[in-house]
């Protein structure tokens, strides 16, 4: 999973674009989704983020779907709770709440929009580019190095974990609850020992290359072009204006329709 998303970020059409522009665009869209009048802000940010990811950035639809799957699960579990009110003054009373249903619907759109913005960032921007940007913005060197080294080790250990799990499965590990627990404990403890070993060996290798406390990991700058800044700043502004407009007028009919749908949904409960 993680390799797949990371691969998309590193090899996608937007991989070489400036990190500043990509972060700016995603954060700008996120701001529209959260701060522009609900639900219009999220309502315009969601399609915009998805369209950018699938269109210009060229991220395959399957990958976008896979990224969105886990958050959608969280949403499905928790948002419906908002539509139900609970009281216990006179015994436990559960009731359909129209206000709650509205909140749930707005929340769902907003959360989906937010996650789409984040997915746009994650699937177009390799993590080290973001760290490089944070470093230019003043993230202490020690922390930036630590994050980059962690990033490197995540994939080394991830490979080890995957191979290890396969090797255990080949020897009939992960059978039943007890077997799974046992196999997982072996894997995790073995992995921890291996982690320490890895760190020790990398230490030796890096000492040979001269990575002492005075040296830091270099990073490639990924300058953002003017046109990219234009998109990053312009699009959110346009969308924010659009959301304002929708909220002020012309949206009454749509809102009435949505209200009717919610009331109809309440009839079922």
């Amino acid at each position: 999973m993680i390799t797949r998303f990371d691969l998309a970020a590193h090899t996608g059409r937007w991989a070489r674009r400036g990190a500043g522009g990509k972060v700016g665009l995603a954060v700008g869209l996120l701001a529209v989704a959260l701060a522009a009048p609900a639900p219009w802000g999220a309502g315009v940010a969601l399609p915009a983020a998805l369209a950018l990811a699938l269109g210009p950035a060229g991220v395959p639809g399957r990958v976008v779907g896979a990224v969105m799957a886990a958050p959608v699960g969280f949403l499905a579990l928790s948002a419906p709770l908002l539509a139900v009110s609970v009281a216990w003054d006179q015994g436990l009373v559960l009731a359909w709440s129209e206000e709650g249903a509205w909140n749930a619907a707005f929340l769902a759109v907003r959360a989906l929009a937010g996650t789409a913005c984040l997915a746009l960032l994650a699937l177009t921007t390799p993590l080290p580019q973001v760290i490089g940007m944070l470093r230019r913005l003043g993230l202490p060197l020690v922390l930036a190095d630590l994050v980059i080294l962690t990033y490197r080790m995540v994939f080394l250990l991830g490979d080890s974990a995957l191979t290890g799990m396969r090797a255990q499965q080949a020897r009939l590990g992960y059978e039943g609850f007890r077997g799974s627990l046992r196999s997982l404990a072996w894997l995790a403890s073995g992995l921890l020992v291996r982690t320490v070993e890895r760190a020790r060996r990398l230490e030796g290798g890096l000492a040979a290359r001269g990575l002492d406390e005075t040296a830091s990991v270099p990073w490639a700058s990924s300058p953002t072009r003017v046109s990219e800044w234009g998109l990053a700043l312009g699009l959110p502004l346009v969308l924010a204006a659009l959301a304002e407009g929708l909220a002020l007028g012309g949206a009454g009919a749509l809102a009435g329709w949505a209200r009717a749908m919610v009331a109809w949904g309440g009839g079922f409960l």
Binding site: G164, A167, Q168, Q169, R171, L172
Partner: protein
């Protein structure tokens, strides 16, 4: 057994791709592993050998195609995989990723324990595997204190303790030195003699030539040729297509033949056999007095004497 009888393992048209990569890792691979064979999957790095091996014990599931044991297509539910893996054991290339226990003996016991065997039987299996691989003196040590070669042996012992019908080894000689390789080949010979079917992957043409009954030549996710080592590894064009050189013994024997010194068939599968063959030719020539002037083969070296024919 006729050619049409089901082999112990058969793979039919396996297609597999790693997520996010465009080129398929396997592009329609079929293989046939009759019982008791020693099959080498030979090819350059990245040709798909490891990916095929992981299909042969169900670790990976093909996008298309199927794997059969004794002619029966295998399923991928829990019970089917369990039965499959009891019969087919896979040893990966890097032992570090496969050893988890705090001691060698404990690690080797992992499989038999999961098989649900009785304690006495587990102990018997572990002792047997440790003896087979000469690991008894190390039984109580933690794997991370062992050398690379020793760890490879522990990983192999862990698979052997499962008493599999088929043992699959991914690049088993990688990183081993001369002694380590010799030792591994002795172990494999013992297993073969006991009837274990063996499949290994390698990019070492000399190893494939010396060891295998059958060679499947891989290039870019396909099997481009399959047959006895003499045929596959004697075909220089074929090897070139796979980006490999011919084995040393084949090249030398070919050169000698072209130079008019045929060594006959079989030429010997490894260097020891080739050298013995050259020596034997020498012996058969020793009685003859009318040899050519040795100097013609190059500058004469010292006094010829008995070495001349």
């Amino acid at each position: 057994m006729s050619d049409h009888a089901a082999a112990l393992i058969e793979a039919h048209g396996l297609v597999f791709g790693y997520p996010g990569r465009e080129a398929p890792a396997l592009d329609g691979v079929s293989l046939r592993v009759p019982r008791g064979t020693r099959l080498a999957l030979l090819g350059p790095n990245g040709a798909g050998k490891t990916t095929v091996l992981m299909h042969l014990n169900g670790a990976l599931r093909p996008r298309a195609g199927e794997v059969c044991l004794d002619g029966v297509p295998q399923g991928y539910d829990r019970a089917a995989l369990r039965a499959w893996r009891q019969r087919v054991q896979l040893v990966l290339q890097d032992p570090d990723d496969q050893l988890f226990a705090a001691s060698v003996a404990e690690d080797v016991a992992f499989g038999p324990h999961n098989q649900g065997l009785a304690a006495a039987e587990i102990e018997r299996r572990v002792a047997g595997a440790l003896t087979d691989l000469d690991l008894e003196p190390l039984a109580a040590l933690p794997p991370h204190l062992l050398s690379h070669g020793q760890r490879k042996r522990v990983a192999l012992a862990g698979a052997l303790a499962m008493a599999p019908e088929v043992l699959i080894l991914d690049e088993p000689t990688a990183g081993l030195d001369h002694q380590g390789e010799r030792r591994l080949l002795e172990t494999l010979a013992r297993l073969h003699a006991r009837g274990t079917t063996l499949v290994l992957s390698t990019h070492d043409v000399d190893l494939a030539h010396a060891w295998a009954d059958q060679v499947a030549l891989f290039a870019a996710g396909r099997v481009i040729a399959c047959g006895p080592p003499a045929d596959i590894l004697g075909d220089f064009n074929l090897l070139g297509a796979a980006g490999l050189a011919a084995p040393a013994v084949v090249r030398v024997a070919r050169a000698l033949e072209e130079a008019g010194i045929p060594l006959g068939n079989p030429r010997g599968r490894d260097l020891d056999a080739l050298v013995a063959r050259i020596r034997a030719s020498c012996g058969s020539m020793a009685g003859r007095k009318d040899g050519p002037d040795a100097a013609a083969f190059g500058k004469p070296r010292g006094t010829g004497g008995a070495a001349f024919f």
